[in-house]
Amino acid sequence: METVLSIQNLKKYYGATKAVEDISFTVDAGEVVVIIGPSGAGKSTVLRCINRMIEPTEGSILFEGHDMAKIKKEKDLKAMRRRIGMIFQSFNLVQRLSVFQNVLHGRLGYMNTASAVMGRYAEEDKQKALDILAMMGMESMIYKKAGELSGGQKQRVGIARALMQNPALLLCDEPIASLDPSSSKIIMNQIQDMAKKRGIACIVNLHQVDVALAYADRIIGIHQGRKVFDDVPEKLTKEMIETIYDAPIEELTVGLEEGVALHA
C-alpha cells in the first residue's frame, strides 16, 4: 500500500514540558492506525500537529509529497488541510445550523472566497452531501438542526462533513468518547468502512483498549509523549498495555476483561 503520511522525529514542547518527544510513524492508504495511551500522554497533540492546528516544535510531517511542518503561507496550509478530514470528540458542529449545512461546510476549503462567504454551494456538492447522508441513513433529517440530534447522529454528521473534503487522511480525536456503546460501534464501523472502501488513511485516538484491538490494523502506544509500541494488535501484550498505561492491568479493565483477555 502507498504511504500517505510519514512522520519523522515529531516534537512538541510547551516551555519545559515535553508534550510529544521524538515520535515517528507512517500510515498507509486504507490503513486504520489507532493511538492509545493515558489522558495527557500526547495523543491529541500528535493528531493536531499533523494538520497544524498545533504548531510542532520540531520534526517533519510528510503528507502527499509536502512537509506540513515546513509550510509557511496560510494559503498553502489551508490547501493542505482540505485533504485532511478531522473528527472530534465533541463533534464540533454548528448547533444552530441544519445537518445539511454542517455537512456542506466540508466543501468551504475548496470554494472561492465569494461563494464560501455567501454560502453558495455547487449543485454537485449538494448532491454529494445528499448521497453521503443517505449512505449513513440520515436522509430523513437533513433539515434538522444539528443541536437536536443524538450524540451518535451528530458524529455521523461529523464524519459526513469530513468525507465532503475528499480526504486522503482522516484524523479522529476520541471519536466515541462521548457516545454510548451501540453508537460507538456504528461510528467505529463507519470509520473502518471509509478506510477500506475509499482507501482513506485513518488515525484514531482512543481510550478504549478493547475497541482498539477490535478495529485497528496497527496500534501505536504512547506513554508520556514517547512512542512505546507500534505493531499489529496481536502483538499487544498484557505487559505492553501496563507499560503504556503505567498501571497494573487489573486497574485498567473496568468491565473490559473479555476484550483484553482475548489477546493478552
Binding site: N51, M53, L77, K78, A79, M80, R81, R82, I84, G85, M86, F88, S90, N92, L93, V94, Q95, R96, L97, Q101, H105, G106, L108, G109, Y110, M111, T113, A116, V117, M118, G119, G158, R161, Q165, L171
Partner: protein, 262 residues
C-alpha cells in the same frame, strides 16, 4: 467526642468580619448623611398630602403635544439602538480575539467601548448640549454613544462564546477567515445579537426619557416643563403614561426574545 464543623472555622470568621464591616459602613454613612429613617416616617403626612392632593388626579393637559413627545422619545430610542447595533457589529468583529484581523485593534476597541459605556448617558447629554444645544438630536446621540459601548462589549462576548469547537472544525477544513465568520460565527451568534439588541431597546426607552428630561427633547422634556411650572397633575399624567409605555415595551421585547431564543 471531637466537634465536627459543617462550615470551616476560617470561613465562619470571614463571614463574621464581612458582616461587621457592612454594619460599620452603614453606621458611618447614616451619621454622615443625617439620614434618619424614623423621622422620614414621622413626616409621612407631608408626603401623602403631596401625593394625594398635588399629584392626583392625573391630567393629560395637551394630548397632541404629549403624543408627539412620546413618539419622539420612542423614535430616539429605536434610532439610537438600531444605529449603534450596526456600528457595534462591525466593531465587535474587529474587537473579538477570535475574528480580529490584527490583535492590537482588540485592545483599542475594548478600551473605546468601556469609555463609552462607563460615562452615563446623562453626562453625555450634558456634554453634547454644550456643543449642539437642546433637542432630540442630542438625546439620540447620547443614547447612541452609550449603547455602542454596551453593545460592542456584549457582541464581542457573544462572538467569543460561539465556541472554539466549531471554529476548530472549520479551520481544519481549510476554510478562510471570512467564510468562517459568515458561515459559522454569524449564524451561531445571531440569536445572541438579537437578544442584546432587544435589551438595549428596552434600556433606551427608559433612559431616553431621562436623557430627554435634562435637555434631550421628547416626553422627558415635556414632563420636566410641567414640574418646573408646578403643574403637578399634568406631570403625573405624563409619568403614568411613560410607565405604561415602558411596561408595554418590556412585555413586547420579552415576548420577542423568547421567540428569538427558541
Amino acid at each position: 467526642m471531637r466537634k465536627i464543623h459543617v462550615i470551616p472555622q476560617k470561613q465562619k470568621r470571614n463571614t463574621l468580619i464581612a458582616l461587621l464591616i457592612v454594619a460599620i459602613l452603614f453606621t458611618i454613612a447614616t451619621i454622615q448623611t443625617e439620614y434618619q429613617p424614623l423621622s422620614f416616617f414621622m413626616n409621612m403626612e407631608n408626603f401623602w398630602e403631596f401625593l394625594l392632593v398635588d399629584l392626583f388626579p392625573p391630567q393629560l393637559a395637551d394630548p397632541p403635544t404629549i403624543v408627539e413627545g412620546i413618539v419622539q422619545t420612542i423614535s430616539m430610542a429605536i434610532a439610537a439602538s438600531l444605529l449603534s447595533c450596526v456600528f457595534s457589529l462591525i466593531l465587535a468583529f474587529l474587537g473579538s480575539r477570535t475574528t480580529a484581523p490584527f490583535q492590537p485593534l482588540c485592545k483599542i476597541i475594548r478600551f473605546l467601548a468601556s469609555l463609552q459605556r462607563n460615562i452615563p448617558s446623562m453626562i453625555w447629554t450634558f456634554i453634547l448640549i454644550m456643543a449642539f444645544g437642546i433637542g432630540s438630536v442630542v438625546g439620540a446621540l447620547a443614547l447612541f454613544i452609550t449603547t455602542c459601548g454596551f453593545l460592542i462589549r456584549s457582541f464581542i462576548e457573544t462572538i467569543d462564546e460561539v465556541g472554539a469547537e466549531s471554529l476548530e472544525a472549520l479551520q481544519s477544513v481549510g476554510a478562510s477567515r471570512l467564510a468562517i465568520i459568515t458561515q459559522v460565527i454569524i449564524p451561531a451568534s445571531l440569536p445572541g445579537f438579537l437578544s442584546w439588541l432587544l435589551y438595549s431597546l428596552e434600556v433606551n426607552i427608559r433612559s431616553s426619557t431621562l436623557v430627554g428630561a435634562v435637555g434631550g427633547g421628547g416626553i422627558g422634556l415635556i414632563m420636566m416643563g410641567y414640574i418646573k411650572q408646578f403643574r403637578y397633575h399634568s406631570a403625573m399624567g405624563v409619568i403614568l403614561l411613560i410607565a405604561a409605555v415602558v411596561i408595554i415595551v418590556d412585555l413586547l421585547t420579552n415576548y420577542l426574545r423568547k421567540k428569538v431564543l427558541a
